[in-house]
């Protein structure tokens, strides 16, 4: 086989793996659901045109040249999309380093490793860009339908953004390997991905709160201060926005720059990719020693179960990054709370739904980890402890963890607005209880390491958990503003949870 044929064969192999990886994620690993997944995806893309129309429809008639405020908003939106893609790309690169079982095979083969890893880097870029195109298509479609073919150039910008995000992600991850070693890179990369994904929005929200007392990120972007500090209209900073609006020159420059960046990354890092992957494989799991007393503790069997769950939660890198993400989203409402403390602003009411929503989502994740993610399922099943007591111990852990995380926020709220604190506390408890119950009804036997794919085991549970959290968040804020509407909202959310229970698998 010639080297060119071998490389194209490997490229096909990489894309096949990426496709099957995606398909497994969409079908929950069940075979024979390929058609359902594809039909579902098409339906999803079709339905997404509605929210896309609501969000971007009114911008379809935008014409160049834009005023500075519009340029800032558009550039910030593109930067946000880029940050999200970078976050996703870091995840993908880490997965390739640690989770692919074929590195031994590849590195023991007589193939030229630099070429092989160049293709792997290109495949990562292609997958990241493909996902970005998939999610951006409804929005661009709406702009094309409303404003004409010139908006097709937005696809070019998405491609440029995707390629540059993937290139940077590879550079960042390999740099992390070099700087802090493979043992810590996995956790740091995950935390970094979470922070990058959420950081930009949160920073804008905090800036908006500090300046204008509102959670709206557009408040800062459209402010006079932002316009005053913005560079001139000819600046390179506005290239992406100009390219989206159909400026061919800017688009070609962007695409060239991103391809150049990817080429440089491939040239520099492909030869080192093998060393990096070898280091990761050699390290496998890091050797970590636990210091401290080794005295066994007494207590009931449930207490033993609870202690084990707490230790595992504390040592779970996935959970740390997920929790950090949830907590990051709580930073803006916390700042709003702090700012509103003195002037009793009505904006403080916005804190409640954010906290309740975060509590529901976090409880869902914790409940999956404790109830479904049991690494020693046989041990627990053969222990002299009834299943109901095991479940009860695990649920207690989830609720205690939620209590510990959210109690300080509620306590701060008590000082500012006692009634709102009471409503928020109720919302947290009900939202967390419902999310936990849904995870309990749809529990599966899984490894904790499968946490990232927990949503795939049951789409119904995922949507029910999200709707329940949103419902209780909405109910909480309505309880403070329009109590009669809160009753209706509470009934609707209860109905969602009840229907979910009815549809859950029957158990003995």
């Amino acid at each position: 086989m010639s080297s060119v044929t071998a490389l194209s064969w490997f490229a096909r192999h990489e894309l096949k793996l990426a496709w099957r990886d995606w398909l497994a994620m969409m079908t929950g690993g069940r075979r024979g659901r390929k058609r359902t997944a594809v039909v579902g995806l098409i339906l999803f893309a079709a339905v997404m045109h509605l929210p896309a129309w609501a969000v971007t429809g009114r911008f379809a008639n935008l014409q160049a040249p834009l005023d500075i405020s519009s340029l800032i908003v558009m550039t910030a939106t593109i930067f946000l999309a880029w940050a999200l893609m970078l976050s996703q790309a870091i995840e993908s690169v880490t997965r390739v380093f640690y989770a692919r079982a074929d590195l031994d095979l590849i590195m023991s083969s007589p193939a030229k490793l630099a070429n092989i890893f160049s293709i792997r880097i290109a495949a990562i870029a292609l997958v990241v860009t493909g996902m970005a195109l998939l999610f951006s298509t409804p929005f661009v479609d709406v702009l094309v339908l409303g404003g004409g073919a010139r908006w097709f150039s937005a696809f070019g910008v998405v491609i440029a953004v995707g390629i540059s995000a993937a290139a940077l992600a590879i550079a960042v991850t390999i740099a992390l390997f070099r700087l802090i070693g493979p043992a810590r890179t996995r956790l740091v990369a995950q935390v970094l991905a979470a922070i990058i994904g959420a950081g930009f929005v949160i920073a804008l929200q905090i800036a908006a709160i500090l300046s204008y007392g509102t959670l709206s990120r557009f408040a800062v972007l459209t402010s006079d201060a932002a316009a005053a500090y913005a560079p001139g209209a000819d600046s390179i900073v506005w290239w992406p926005a100009r390219a989206v609006l159909g400026d061919t020159e800017a688009l070609l420059l962007l695409l060239s720059a991103s391809l150049l960046l990817l080429g440089v990354v491939m040239a520099i890092f492909s030869p080192r990719f093998a060393d990096t992957a070898l280091s990761a494989a050699a390290q496998g799991a890091p050797r970590r020693w636990i210091r401290g007393a080794n005295a066994f503790r007494g207590g009931s069997r449930q207490q033993a179960m609870g202690r084990k769950e707490f230790v595992l939660l504390r040592r779970d890198p996935w959970l740390i990054s997920q929790t950090l993400m949830q907590l990051l989203y709580l930073v803006p409402p916390a700042v709003l709370l702090w700012r509103s403390f003195s002037d009793r602003s009505a904006a403080i009411m916005l804190v409640t739904p954010v906290i309740v929503m975060a509590a529901g989502q976090l409880a869902g994740g914790l409940a999956w980890l404790t109830i479904s993610g049991e690494d020693a399922a046989d041990l627990v099943a053969t222990a002299p402890l009834s299943r109901s007591r095991v479940i009860r111990a695990k649920i207690e852990v989830v609720l205690i963890a939620i209590g510990v995380i959210f109690a300080p926020l509620v306590m701060a709220l008590v000082l500012a607005a006692p009634l709102q604190a009471a409503v928020t506390a109720c919302g947290i408890m009900i939202g967390a209880a419902c999310a936990t119950a849904i995870q309990l009804w749809f529990r599966v036997q899984a490894k904790r390491s499968q946490f990232r794919r927990r949503q795939t085991s049951s789409r119904l549970a995922t949507f029910a958990e999200a709707f329940s959290s949103i419902g209780w968040a909405g109910t909480s804020v309505l309880a403070l503003s329009v109590p009669s509407a809160a009753v209706i909202s509470a009934l609707m959310t209860t109905a969602i949870v009840a229907v979910t229970w009815k549809l859950s698998p029957r158990r003995e």
């Binding site: 496998g284 050797r287 020693w289 636990i290 069997r301 033993a304 179960m305 046989d378 041990l379 402890l385």
Partner: protein, 263 residues
Amino acid sequence: MFACNANRDGDDFMKPGPSALEVRGLTKRFDRPAIDALDLTVRAGEFYALVGPNGAGKTTTLRMVAGLLRPDAGSVGIFGIDALREPVAAKQVMAWVSDEPMIYDKLTPLEYLEFVAGLWGIEPRISQACAHELLGSLGLAPNLSERCEGFSKGMRQKVALAGALVHDPRLIILDEPLTGLDAVSARHVKGLLGERVRAGCTVIMTTHILEVAERMADRIGVIASGKLVAEGTLTELRQQNGRTNTSLEDLFIALVDVKADAA
């Protein structure tokens, strides 16, 4: 000799009593019958090896005995306790070790054993001493406080085995416990199991290593297509098949081939 008396009621343990395991008419179907009205008795204090070809139903049988799988029909008695009606009482006196060690990556061996002892309600003072002794005897003393995530399969298997022994069970059920162990570790494990049997414990083990069954087991059961096709001491098996001075491997192949031909 190693002996942790954490889960025993004084002298009662050594008194002759009911069979350690009494299985009657055990049946399980998946898409085809996996276990077909199986009867099996294992005496207290006996080392019993269950051998059979792949897919014969060894693991399914033992998983039903351990309470990990519900049978379609039949009964399981463990030291006179009906394991299907009183699973918690039955589980209190037994331990299960699977071929794929299921332990927590983020716990140290000591923490894992503390958790297991807590689940079985063992006094911490007793279980702690027992845990140190067990892990030491399995060669894990240098790794007591190291997280299990970096362990080899053999080390993980040893931790799982220590977990099974730390609550001093009266019946130990092991599914291919020697898989993935090096020769030294395998000898450690065999020695530990032998000591347990000499101390009055009952061991039921599946294995594909017929020499182990031949050398260690008091009695051997041969299972094929969900049925017990032969059972007894090695001498009894030879007599039943009219083959003197033949190895268990030859006997096993003859028995399984006959069963396959009959099917």
